[in-house]
């Protein structure tokens, strides 16, 4: 057991939480503006893929990161146009974005690298103390998002769009512009989360490498009460469940069998949702359109 609580466990938890923090912050901003975003998974996948492709094309992981994030924002633009301007059902649009992301990346992996499973290896972003440089970046974003959302005029207006779209329109807020900005910001953050997975923690892309993290991030948004600090806590909780599970399995003689340990993240999620979610409710105008703008 003396091998269990180590610095290694702490850094692992931070590494596992990082993609969730990025994506959860993105989802939170989007939902605060009143747009449901279940496309986080797909946007992360697009970010992960184009970060590798961009690095492969340019030779620079920094340019790759920018390309990955821009492509995730382009994906978010699809979500924005169909959800906001065309007024499609936001769940259906989000699902479509996820499906497009999975199919597109599978197709492009095949056409660029000639294998169906994944990309070649590329240069990864620099690391600090065994962690990608993007790990501290994720944590820096939390107070920034909290400040913008709660302390600036734009943030408060964004929340108004999510709470009461009709009243916001009456008050002269350009709800369309705010919602577009929010969805694009969620693309930026989800793209960072995806790029972290591919060129931050690893140095290649594999098919469907986000592995449901976009949805777990969405769960972190809800569990965290649509609050950046709450989302951070929830992302850390999920990361900790995963990290502890890995640590336990990798410690010889650990008293809990690996069969049980692999279920730990799911058990933690169920307990957390049972304990905390009842009291939470999202922005009142989530998924609702204003009649005129």
């Amino acid at each position: 057991m003396d091998h269990f609580f180590t610095l290694d466990l702490l850094t692992r938890i931070l590494r596992m939480s990082t993609p969730l923090i990025f994506a959860a912050l993105g989802g939170l901003i989007c939902e605060r503006s009143g747009v449901i975003n279940i496309a986080l998974e797909g946007l992360m996948l697009i970010g992960a893929f184009f970060a590798v492709a961009g690095t492969y094309w340019t030779g620079s992981p920094w340019l790759g990161l920018i390309i990955g994030v821009l492509c995730a924002m382009a994906g978010a633009m699809i979500h924005a146009v169909w959800s906001i301007s065309i007024r499609g059902d936001q769940i259906v649009v989000g699902t479509a974005v996820n499906l497009i992301a999975l199919g597109l990346t599978a197709f492009l992996v095949q056409s660029i690298w000639g294998t169906a499973g994944g990309s070649d290896r590329v240069t990864s972003l620099p690391k600090l103390g065994g962690m990608s440089i993007l790990v501290p970046v994720a944590f820096v974003f939390v107070p920034i998002v909290a400040f913008v959302l709660f302390r600036t005029k734009q943030g408060l207006r964004l929340q108004a769009c999510g709470e009461h779209p009709q009243a916001s329109v009456s008050a002269g807020i350009d709800i369309t512009r705010y919602r577009y900005s929010a969805v694009l910001t969620s693309g930026l953050l989800a793209g960072l989360g995806g790029a972290y997975l591919s060129i931050g923690n690893l140095n290649y892309f594999t098919l469907d490498m986000t592995n449901g993290r976009g949805f777990i991030a969405l769960a972190a948004v809800i569990l965290g009460g649509w609050n950046p600090w709450g989302a951070l806590a929830a992302a850390l909780l999920f990361g900790a469940a995963e990290g502890i599970q890995i640590q336990g399995q990798s410690t010889p003689g650990f008293p809990i069998s690996s069969d049980l340990l692999v279920t730990l993240p799911y058990i933690v999620t169920l307990i957390a949702i049972t304990l905390f979610v009842k009291a939470r409710s999202g922005p009142a105008g989530l998924g609702k359109h204003a009649t005129t703008s």
Partner: protein, 353 residues
Amino acid sequence: MLTSRLNRRQLVIAGGAAVAATPLLSRLSVSAQDSITVTMVTDTAGIGDQSFNDMANAGGLRAQDELGITFNVLESQTAADYVRNLTDAAESSDMSIGVGFLLTDALAEVAAQYPDGKFALIDSVVEADNVVNFLFREQEGAFLAGAIAALVSKTGQIGFVGGIRIPPVMRYEVGYVAGAKSVNPDIQIAIAYADDFENPDKGKELTLAQYNNGADVVHAAAGRTGVGAFDAALEKGEGFWVIAADKDQAHLGPDAQLAAVIKGIDTAVFDGIKSAQDGTFVGGIHNLGIADDGMGLGAIHASIGADVTDVIDAYSAAIAGGAIVPPVDDDTLAAFELVSPDAIPAVEATPAS
């Protein structure tokens, strides 16, 4: 769990050959000597897993080159694709190959619907006249992997990272433990499962955790998840080893791979196709081990000396000769009597193959 996966049409790759346009016509025209069409269905890890799907694909491509057959691959994106892909395969080709234990139920269902079709299944068994099954005694190769891990380890601690604990992976695990404990009964072995064959990120984290807890050799039997084990070894640098499963993966990290358990899936696929091509196909079970050249430990790193490889060769000969029978599950592992390197029973030299 909350994952959204896509039920899209599968990619048809390999050979660039068009799928036979008219299944009925192609089936009518087949006689024993004609060029046949073979369609392989992967599990969800798919081509590019650097592991058994790739090996099966290599066997099919070899058959395409050497036997002039038409070889197609249908990749499964989700478990829900298995039945549909196998049905498509049975409709469009003379022989359908299911790659992996995960396709067992689907192949049983489809083979029953197409009694005239020929089927091959890797790593599992469907008992039917039209199905030829190829099983491997993974425990034999894994025993050698465990032995070399224990011989090379300087810390007295080694690890195992598995994908999902299905029977072939379990045979890897228990064989590995039996081999390692035979060499060093006091060795510490961490055993971890990613619960996923497609998650290299988790494979890397599990392997890193085992290294950081004191292991210096990790055997990964985890499909594409196992690719991450190499990332962990490369990050840790010299003195941290990976033993690959199913095939030589040295290209992922030439100086990180201690050895590879080689599983003759490519040969099995080739032989299965050949039997369908030359009309000798019969259903049944082939159980391939070291003695059949179906398993073995290969690609041993150049820095490993003869003191180690001699022991491995002796164990290998003893297993091939039947003097050591590595365990296949938890019960046989518990009952397994360790064979120390000084006490490896000598066996008659097996006939050269």
